[in-house]
Symmetry: C2
Subunit: 223 residues, 2 copies
């Protein structure tokens, strides 16, 4: 499925991805802060460092093109701040699951979109975002907690199912052509209309959800 023509312009793409990774870093810093022990803190600091490296790599691409990172990220801040607030979770395990599932899904998504970027920047970003995110630490802590507590497992399964909706909305917002019509200019379209972009991106979203389901399965959670 070639969706390269749906990839947004380079600077907005970089701005959204960079701000998303900064948010993941902030989530992980929060997870470090509320870690139950030093060993968890130490392991999570590695994951936080990887998210920060992704953010900084994307920011470097912005600068290379003469962009101002803060300006390029700014349009995406309100929606991504709102996403983070909604998906922060009520405790350490929910937050770890958010980092694992939303981080995994949106890294996959930004890698998929990078196909359509001009020049050699696409492969460079795919490499940057595809680097092992150190998330085995997240999986280890989550599995240990779930294995010892079936009630926690069903609670986290619910949280994971809720996360996927909010996370997919972030992905959808990255592709203007795939977003459902939301303003008056399209008011005359029949309510069931899908844009051509929306129809073409759908299989990509199906792939992303399938990978999400595999992550849930790997933790023993029902997606």
């Amino acid at each position: 499925m070639d969706i390269s023509d749906l990839t947004p312009e380079l600077l907005p793409y970089l701005g959204q991805a960079a701000y998303f990774e900064l948010g993941m870093f902030e989530n992980l810093a929060q997870a470090i802060r509320i870690s139950p022990d030093l060993d968890a803190k130490e392991g999570l600091s590695v994951v936080a460092g990887r998210a920060l490296a992704k953010h900084q790599g994307l920011v470097a691409e912005v600068r290379r093109r003469g962009g101002e990172p803060a300006e390029v990220m700014a349009p995406f801040a309100p929606a991504l701040d709102d996403f983070r607030a909604k998906t922060m979770g009520a405790d350490w395990h929910e937050l770890l699951l958010t980092c694992y599932l939303a981080g995994g899904l949106l890294d996959d998504f930004f890698i998929r979109l990078s196909d359509g970027l001009p020049g050699d920047v696409g492969p460079r970003i795919a490499h940057l975002l595809g680097q092992g995110a150190g998330t085995d630490v997240l999986v280890t802590h989550l599995k240990a907690a779930i294995d010892g507590n079936p009630g926690l497992g069903s609670h986290l399964a619910l949280w994971g199912r809720r996360l996927v909706g909010d996370t997919m909305l972030v992905a959808r917002s990255a592709i203007p052509a795939a977003a459902p019509p939301v303003d008056g200019t399209t008011a005359t379209a029949p309510p069931t209309a899908t844009t051509p972009g929306e129809a073409r991106i759908e299989p990509v979203f199906t792939e992303l959800v399938a990978a999400h389901t595999r992550r849930m399965d790997g933790l023993g959670l029902t997606a």
Copy 2:
């Protein structure tokens, strides 16, 4: 002034320095969280990355010697957590000043102590901790705020003077031989007694305070 024989054992040294840098990283993550704008967030993320790199470099030295980072750091966690709680500050500017002044002083201190470490680890750590910490970002934000608000300057001068005491206590705790007697076993010593270690480390502390004063001066604050 050769204080190499006062340097603590290698693993405790690494544990204390590693946990201190992790705490600095957590302070910077908190500063990112409460940043007034995206530009500040972005600049601070670089400083946070440097603190994290220092932490991870020290942890790598622990692992190289077969140590468990969490175990090696654990004895220092209560005092350093207490130090962080006391020096976190009430707002963004106080927190930035803490990162700049306490970070600067204790990096200097751990570099000074690294002279006495065995083998080639000392120079390696001095290099790691001496790397530009990206603190020009902290200085830029603090100076901009102070220049525009003389009241903030005198408030932060007070905060800086208070910080130095708490920070020097952390340094002092790293050198058992230099710590003043605190328990019953030394109850028979005259109250004015200084240990030989304490007398010899004093000039080093004087140097650290002089560098602290230069940092305060650089910000236009009276130390």
